[in-house]
Amino acid sequence: MTGFLPKRAMGLLALGVSLIAGSASARDLTVVAWGGSSQAAQREVYYRPFTEQTRVPLLEDSWSGGLGILRTRVQAGNPTWDVVQVESDELQLGCDEGLYERIDWAALGGRDAFMPEAVSDCGVGAVVWSVGLTYDGSRLRDAPASWADFWNTQRFPGQRTLRRGPKYTLEIALMSDGVPQSEVYRVLRTPAGVDRAFRRLDQLRPNIVWWTAGAQPGQLLASGEVVMAAAYTSRMFAARRDDRRDFRVVWNGSVYAVDHWVVLRGSQNRDNAMRFVQFATRPENQSRFPTLAMQGVTNLRAARQVDPAVATSLPTHPDNLAVAVSLDVEFWVDNIEELTQRFNAWAAR
């Protein structure tokens, strides 16, 4: 960086420091996912077995998305993360900016082994997730059935929680306003459609509690802080199973998408990172994931082996896909920056 200290002085200083510290080279392989039940499942079927088989120690961290974080880490230098689970738009944008290492598909069993949405130059599909309307059946006797009900504060008094960010929040706002699922992105591609979504959010604003991390909606529902949540469906099913909560999911109008494994550029553990990605996308490993995480998987052979009892609770079940909206990656690649800026300004007011 020009503008900072002269480059050479900085280099010398860095050299000196790394000699003293010696820590930079000793960092363990670090895998970053989205926390909560999903990461707990990954720990079980990916992290631990990987370390057992390869003897490569593995550190984990969690995050809640946002390409800026990855950009900062790569651009500031010395990224402390190696493998990251990113959303589809983050995959494509980051790939264009050279934030990720390229994937060697031959080592993964070829592109054809995966569902088409999981294949790209910089990443491999990791999970299929969805966000849907959820509520606590033990607290709400009157069952909501659509996003319009989510906005109906007369029939369902109390707070609701939505993710603090424009992605799928704007889609949900439009669906609640009567836009049919097939029309959502056509409307959202017009400036008037975006205004309409924000106006709709304005109406609900006094009743909104924002969540940033995927584990929050469950806590908010359980504590009665909110009556409904736009939440990751997988975590609701996990709470049903593990904590015997009566959380219910409305698949109608849910939004689903694929998350991907990427390896950050400049990773000190590049080779082990790639080994991990290979390990975590092998059919025999992926097939154990849905039962634990209640999320879909991307390797076609693994997807076929899913336990039928679990399958109906997965975003990938045909009945669920039929009433859901597929996240329009192209739309978000083009608009995420601008809409995030507008959303943040709106939310900070």
Partner: protein
């Protein structure tokens, strides 16, 4: 009260006492309310309790995250405290015998890390350390925590020095003691309570520090507060309340030590001033 009070004033006084009890309750009850929750059998942070259980303490001790974060906190805290105490004590001794503008300026520089908002310190250090490869390293965190702790050592040592009878040192020197000997025999025992309470302050600062840690720590350097922060925000589990209870007990212990030290100093001061 030596003067008779009118009934109105007596009512006022009782009002005051009631008010103060309420305020003290406001200060203490929230912290105490967490403790029963840590023995909750259920897995959400809500009252009423689902039953008594020590499962969250077991969780704390067995989980791959909590215990390592505790040892990280202890490790970073102790090294940072050592650095802060050495640097801070030396600086306070030097400052004490300086005067005028240099003293004021240096004093300001040394105390500034307490006044400057931590976020500013955190983000500045992040920008610099990222370039030096010090983000996500123990060294980076230790340096940052030492910086935040040093002012407290300067303050507490300076305070003990302010009540320090300089003639004792003069006497020792005139009796032929080398300066080092005089320091070890005379100065050190007198400032020791200040050094120790400064060190405790520095340790507590590091042990509680979250903002700078948020910027600088990598997953390997996860400290207890960082783990709690993520816990509250991301992976909500009542193990947090178990951690909170343990942290609370640590703070009670530290307050106890500080209180004892304070009394000791007061006693010594009292003895010294009545003796001279």
């Amino acid at each position: 009260m030596s003067l008779p009070l009118a009934p109105v004033d007596r009512a006022l006084r009782w009002g005051l006492i009631t008010l103060c009890v309420t305020i003290l309750a406001f200060l203490l009850v929230p912290v105490l309310a967490v403790i029963p929750l840590s023995f909750n059998a259920g897995s959400f942070l809500t009252y009423p309790l689902a039953g008594f259980s020590t499962r969250w303490y077991v969780d704390f001790y067995t989980s791959a995250r909590w215990l390592p974060s505790l040892s990280n906190s202890l490790f970073i805290g102790s090294i940072a405290t050592l650095i802060a105490t050495l640097l801070g004590t030396a600086a306070a001794l030097g400052l004490d015998r300086m005067g005028g503008i240099p003293r004021q300026v240096l004093n300001a520089v040394f105390l500034l890390p307490v006044v400057v908002p931590v976020v500013v310190i955190g983000s500045s250090l992040y920008a610099l350390f990222a370039r030096l490869g010090l983000t996500g390293s123990y060294l980076g965190l230790i340096l940052a925590h030492a910086l935040l702790g040093a002012p407290f050592v300067v303050i507490t040592v300076a305070a003990t020095l302010a009540g320090f009878d300089r003639s004792l040192l003069q006497a020792a020197l005139s009796l032929g003691a080398t300066p080092l000997e005089a320091f070890r025999r005379v100065t050190l025992p007198l400032i020791l309570p200040g050094v120790v309470s400064g060190a405790i302050f520095a340790f507590a600062t590091s042990f509680d520090e979250i903002v700078v840690t948020l910027f600088l720590a990598g997953p390997q350097q996860r400290t207890l507060p960082l783990q709690m922060f993520d816990g509250v925000r991301e992976q909500i589990s009542p193990a947090i309340t178990a951690a909170a209870t343990l942290l609370f007990l640590v703070s009670v212990g530290l307050v106890g030590v500080i209180e004892l030290l304070r009394r000791r100093t007061e006693r010594l001061r009292g003895a010294a001033s009545s003796g001279s």
